[in-house]
């Protein structure tokens, strides 16, 4: 049952073959058993989970269930969840009990979904390996010595190890797609503005976007139906007609034009990832798609641009952590400034402090034009590359990451090497486009590889269909790590 998709679980719930309480218990037991080895969850509240499941069962019995009523879900600990500890992976929020729900938490509750727990993540979503979490690193279920990617590493590991049927994540520079690739699951970063950011603890507000992480594209589509929608409380939320993200799942791919950016297949890509991406493209050709070479000439600038813009926005967003209104406060200090400085020195980890300092610097007097403004201009050039590319193709494909999962500790001393693991994902955030990662192979160490799909603005349903057709023809998304079968 742990391998079943959401629609199968839903029909079992609807036909009373299983109750939501039983389903929730099954996953809570798996979490108890496997969390010590994966560290995928930071906070559990079994009583609250089971209470929500009991309510879902009543709703199912009353006949007013929504499609995902009774389905357990794991939430990244970046989403404020009323009554639950919400840490964002930081000592700063170690004891923060959120006083309200993020928009997507409300959406999931209204859909009758059951919160299984809050998943581990890089501190304030800053990281690509889940090693910057104050609550410890997360292990990749495929190999406990390997990282699961980041920053949504806990959600990725939870789904990969089948500790949760589905999870939420957030993606600022690749934080859904990169961990999805490294753990062999499916993840979608929607178009910027499609999912409300209300109650999602802010990192870089012009890039942050929440999305689904699941075993399959079909499950991502079902969860997107819950997550997406206009919310007046997020000033960048887009007013659009409600859409059914499952509507194009069965659309055949004959005639689909896939653009392959030559920059994504150049030096830096590992042979094994390249081979499995090539094999996936062959599968797409068999399904009737054509491939065309395209170019994203400014994509190599996406990392420099991102490491100016994201820290700049972060330094502003994280100025709210001052030890006054909520969160950590240093125990000993002399005066107000000393209290601020010690609180922030003790409450933030090294990577967060590094990025706050970079952001402070690039926004400071005399450097603003050279760094911040220049980065915003190049951001437009990067976005225009995609606009140009989509005149030649329907979807862009390439690797999600340059290599498969690396070992814990391998890149912790070298921030630049760590940053380069997001080289193929960041441009998508800068442009605000939707992107997915789907599993497409395993390397010689049995570590998963990911295929990235990038669509034009608001093409999520189409992307999900293109991914689903691949998953109908292949079984990479059904593979799971042996150690977690029991």
């Amino acid at each position: 049952m742990i391998n079943y998709g959401l629609s199968r679980l839903s029909s079992m719930l609807a036909s009373r073959q299983i109750s939501s309480v039983e389903l929730t218990q099954l996953f809570l037991e798996r979490i108890q058993r496997y969390n010590p080895s994966t560290n995928a969850f930071i906070t559990l509240n079994e009583a609250a989970s089971l209470e929500a499941a009991a309510q879902a069962d009543m709703r199912l019995a009353d006949g007013n269930a929504a499609p995902l009523t009774g389905i357990p879900i794991a939430h990244k600990d970046i989403f404020c969840t009323e009554g639950w500890r919400t840490t964002c992976g930081s000592k700063m929020l170690e004891n923060f009990i959120a006083p309200y729900d993020a928009h997507i938490i409300t959406q999931c509750k209204q859909a009758g979904m059951v919160n299984l727990g809050k998943t581990n993540m890089d501190e304030f979503a800053m990281g690509s390996s889940n090693e910057t979490s104050y609550f410890g690193a997360v292990s990749n279920p495929w190999d406990l010595a390997a990282v699961p990617g980041g920053s949504s590493g806990g959600s990725a590991a939870a789904v990969a190890a089948r500790l949760a049927p589905v999870a939420t994540g957030s993606d600022t520079g690749g934080s859904i797609r990169q961990p999805a690739a490294l753990t062999g699951i499916t993840g979608l970063k929607p178009t910027y503005g499609v999912v409300s950011r209300y109650g999602m603890i802010a990192f870089a507000s012009s890039l942050d976007q929440a999305g689904p992480m699941a075993k399959s594209a079909e499950d991502c589509a079902l969860l997107m139906n819950v997550l997406a929608g206009f919310d007046a409380r997020d000033s960048t939320s887009l007013e659009r007609q409600t859409e059914d993200y499952t509507r194009l799942l069965d659309q055949p791919l004959a005639g689909l034009k896939i653009g392959l950016p030559r920059e994504f297949f150049a030096a830096g890509l590992s042979d094994e990832v390249a081979r499995s991406v090539e094999a996936a493209l062959d599968e797409y050709r068999k399904l009737g798609a054509q491939t065309v070479e395209i170019s994203l000439p400014n994509s190599s600038l996406s990392i420099p641009v991102y490491y100016v813009l994201a820290p700049a926005e972060a330094s502003t967003n994280l100025s709210r952590f001052d030890g006054v209104r909520y969160g950590y406060r240093a125990p000993n200090y002399d005066d107000l400034d000393d209290m601020y400085e010690k609180t922030r020195a003790q409450g933030f980890g090294a990577e967060v402090k590094r990025r706050i300092m970079i952001g402070t610097y690039v926004l400071s007097h005399g450097y603003y034009d050279a760094y911040y403004l220049q980065a915003q201009k190049i951001r437009r050039l990067i976005a225009q590359d995609f606009t140009q590319a989509f005149t030649q193709c329907d979807v862009i494909m390439g690797p999600t990451t340059p290599d498969t999962a690396f070992n814990r500790g391998e890149k912790t001393d070298d921030p630049v090497a760590m940053y380069l693991s997001d080289i193929y994902t960041i441009a998508v955030n800068l442009a605000g486009l939707p992107g997915m990662s789907i599993p497409c192979g395993l390397d010689h160490r049995n570590r998963p590889t990911g295929l990235q799909l990038i669509g034009n603005y608001f093409s999520e349903a189409h992307l999900l269909g293109i991914a689903h057709q691949f998953q109908q023809a292949t079984d990479w998304h059904e593979r799971m790590p042996d150690a977690f079968r029991g």
């Binding site: 910027y192 100025s319 601020y340 590094r354 300092m357 970079i358 220049q374 921030p415």
Partner: protein, 95 residues
């Protein structure tokens, strides 16, 4: 462009983060490594390109002038490191 130790200490001060001399040296090295990446931007000709702040060019929405937030002071102040009688406590600022 690279930062010297004084630059790092000045930035840390602006960001209100206490750093020891040893930490400042480590940060200097790491931040300069990151700035070495960033310099690739400087060679790009962006003459006439409008800066892009957001992915979608949306306008700020206007709304009815109605009360939408209610007073939840007690709930919010329960989260504060030090608060009482509706006030947040901080070290004395004015003598």
């Amino acid at each position: 462009m690279s930062l010297n130790l004084q630059d790092v200490q000045r930035v840390a001060k602006l960001a209100r983060i206490a750093v020891s001399d040893d930490e400042a040296q480590a940060y200097q090295q790491q931040i300069n490594g990151i700035f070495a990446l960033v310099t690739a931007m400087q060679a790009v000709d962006t003459e006439g390109v409008a800066p892009m702040a957001h992915a979608q060019d949306v306008h700020q929405r206007l709304r009815e002038d109605l009360v939408t937030e209610y007073n939840r002071r007690t709930v919010f102040q329960a989260l504060a490191p030090q608060a009482a009688e509706g006030l947040y406590f901080v070290p004395q600022v004015i003598d």
